[in-house]
Symmetry: C2
Subunit: 503 residues, 2 copies
């Protein structure tokens, strides 16, 4: 049986999280492991939060800059935000407490493409990091790290940091060893091609090399990943998933896709789960995933022999499925590869695979510009995540959303997107429960009818009225707009509680 | 001496453009050579326009869909637009007559990333093409094409088309043979890495293979490329160029760039010419370009021994420099490589090179969202071109513009960009004659001061007033906006003739 800390030097560095918090100081840049609620440090965030609270009680300043893979969990982002311990956060978050602090101007947040974060750190745009805090399954004999349920930007942060703190989490299965594939592109000016041709190609090592001289603490933990519970699939999700599967079937019919050639990329959520349930009963075989996160539905597809391989950077599993993974990681590691997010989301490899992308959105406008991040232009939800990395470089890109939210007060199809994360040049297909709008090969005005057709029926007349105003005599006609009323939907929502403008 | 048409079969297909126009019919999808006024067919467009006019006079319909590399010239896009011979145009244009027809709803235009156009044709999104019309320097003994001053999407269109018409242009220097490097990524599901590590790497053939059975006509021409005349560098351009060079020097000072490691990407225009003039007297050496077009300034840098190699897909030279190129192509081809635009603009290679991107813009908002295409949200100027390909994947990306246009009636810095082609996640640095706003590592609110500082002084108070409204009590603070007045600049311009709102 493997020892969790197999290296003598590291054994000498074992201490409590509270003791290790001495190495984290006000103003530090701290790179952490963690991606979508998996693989984040479980003990250090609370210890740092406590240190911050004590400092604030003394009247001292204490706030750090926190960089991760992507979102983490209440016991990481949540406790740090609650303690006002963060000054600047990147590249993604989804914590309710943190979101409130950001939207209330109590902390700052930069929303960065997930494939860019580690790259920009390597390029020196953020200067030195003072600390890296990385969760591991195990430290091997040579002192290298076996990462846990997420790889994220671990490699880049370990390289950038002056001091390294490792959390060894006994909750994580030792059988995850062998699932990871750690590879770094050589630094400028010596970058070379990433030799991945298929999602299943392994090109690196199963561990992350660590500069032992920088390790200041090893903290033992035994705590589960966030593991959001699985929501039952509702009717709207089932319908959206059905339209997505129709889109796939359409590609097959058009001779552009074969039943054994579907490469999946998928955001997390209810609709993707419905899609994967649908795929179980479909004609698609040998499905491969080149994506960010491993979801429940992918394990089902693997178990059913429908999916041969899934490449990602982390897990986003429900409690039951996390348990199954911990019990059967040895079997799953024949089918699953966890990579650094620079590689899982790399434009080079994404484009090469020819994947079909599907990501959630907040709203899209009548020309196919997509808002993934800021409600009514200002209020951050989560962030762009990897949606840009995949959308821009996919063989075929799609965005999915129910046509309405908040009992119909909000329409997902609007005259002018109040924030734009994916432009009309990138989004190919938009899907709601009312169908899919295939915008490929269409000039802007030809997209409008298709977009209005997938809006909720209550909003179609309002969108048609807008388009009439936009195309009135004397207007320019490449992308017709009426800028005076372009944001009326959003202004109505703020003032009257509904985009419809109901009192 | 090489023969222009060295293959017997092709000799038998020589005919006039008017005769060859028989192969182009109403409703056809036609792929043409041509990129930035170089390498476009010189005779066929007029012949097709005449055929269209004759049909229209008879009361018959005649309009085709035209796909090119990028923009062409009055004797291509101009004559076709004038004759109402185009129904749909992609992926880029810059012709005044065509622009008017598009904005007047007399033809349709889809503005597509230049690296996506050929790819989407290969992927079958546009179905079969009926005709490809490609300009060549020469047809060799085996019947393969030596392209002329642009490669563009020639390969993809030749493959997609049922019928091929070749224009052999005697004006183009025979010494261009050997300058081209033709390479195609294998088709899905067999795509492989593009083996270019440095801008100067050659990986393909100097000719384009052609399926002889599809060739229906060869047309001889002797006509110059468009070759827009060189504008003298004005003061504003010099200042903007100076700030760009300061940005480069800043990278050197920060230890992120060495004087012999600058990889240039540059849009076309007055400011880039000023930048290149500035580089002649700078400490930068061994400059390499991985870009779309070869401009006058690059030839100067090559002649001065400052630039070792420039990779692009076409020329955009002034008449004097085009003459020099025609006379000395043999010498220049040691330093210049012309590639298919899928390769010159490929995200994979762009990211690998670590280039520094610099592209023009129409406007940017206070958070760094950039409009490259639609004036006041609706009126197309040219198109996104390759700016997205380079910006998203550059080591460092920048956008340049004078701070005002039309004698101050238009500000390049606005509260909310009226069309967004590059999002806040992509644009790193914005430059006007008032300085550069380095937005790297900054959350949205921290970008505002920097953006207002590079606006024209007349507009700074107006932008500050907007930001005050945007950050008023009760607003969400990630990306503060006041949607009711977000487009006031643009509405003022339309109604009062100035974004300032002057009467």
């Amino acid at each position: 049986m493997s020892e969790r800390i197999a290296n003598e030097f590291y054994k000498s560095k074992v201490m409590s999280a509270d003791e290790a918090a001495q190495f984290v100081n006000n103003g530090d840049k701290v790179g952490m492991s963690g991606f979508t609620g998996a693989g984040y440090p479980k003990a250090m965030p609370t210890a740092i939060a406590n240190k911050a609270k004590a400092a604030h009680e003394r009247g001292d300043e204490f706030a750090i800059d926190v960089f991760t893979g992507a979102s983490t969990a209440p016991d990481c982002d949540g406790v740090l935000a609650e303690a006002d311990a963060i000054r600047y956060r990147a590249p993604y978050q989804s914590d309710p407490v943190m979101r409130k602090k950001i939207n209330g101007a109590e902390m700052k947040y930069q929303d960065i493409h997930l494939s860019h974060m580690g790259l920009q750190v390597e390029q020196g745009f953020f200067g030195d990091f003072q600390v890296a805090i990385i969760e591991a399954v195990r430290i091997n004999e040579e002192g290298n790290i076996i990462p846990s349920s997420a790889v994220g930007n671990n490699v880049e942060y370990l390289n950038a940091a002056d001091k390294i703190i490792i959390e060894v989490n006994e909750w994580q299965s030792l059988d995850l060893e062998g699932m990871h594939d750690i590879y770094s592109v050589p630094k400028l000016p010596n970058r070379t091609p990433i030799p991945i041709n298929r999602p299943g190609d392994r090109i690196g090592t199963p561990f992350i090399p660590v500069d032992q001289n920088k390790v200041v603490a090893v903290v033992k933990t035994d705590a589960p990943d966030r593991n959001a519970p699985f929501k039952p699939i509702d009717d709207t999700s089932k319908k959206i998933a059905g339209h997505f599967l129709d889109l796939l079937e359409g590609e097959v019919k058009a001779g552009r896709l074969k039943y054994d050639q579907y490469i999946m990329q998928s955001g997390v959520g209810n609709v993707p789960n419905a899609v994967m349930a649908g795929l179980l009963d479909s004609k698609f075989e040998n499905i491969q995933a080149y994506t960010e996160v491993i979801q429940d539905g992918m394990l089902d597809l693997i178990d059913a022999g429908k999916m041969t391989v899934a490449s990602a950077t982390s897990f986003a599993l429900s409690p039951d499925y996390a348990e199954k993974m911990n019990a059967e990681a040895k079997r799953y590691r024949d089918h699953i590869i966890l990579r650094p997010q620079q590689i899982s989301n790399h434009p080079e490899v994404v484009r090469r695979t020819g994947l079909i992308a599907s990501n959630g959105m907040i709203e899209a406008d009548i020309y196919g510009n997509v808002n993934s991040t800021n409600v009514s232009g200002s209020r951050i939800m989560n962030g762009i995540g990897g949606s840009g990395d995949f959308t821009r470089n996919a063989y075929l890109s799609s965005f999915i959303s129910p046509s309405i939210a908040k009992d119909g007060a909000i329409s997902a199809i609007v005259p002018f997107a109040s924030h734009i994360d994916h432009t009309e040049h990138d989004a190919m297909v938009i899907i709601t429960e009312h169908g899919y709008a295939d915008l490929r090969g269409l000039a802007p005005r030809d997209r409008v009818k298709k977009m209005i057709a997938i809006a909720h029926p209550d909003y179609r007349p309002l969108l048609e009225e807008y388009y009439e105003r936009a195309t009135a005599e004397g207007h320019y006609m490449q992308t017709p707009h009426d800028l005076k009323t372009a944001f009326d939907f959003h202004i109505n929502l703020a003032e009257k509680g509904s985009m419809k403008g109901d009192a």
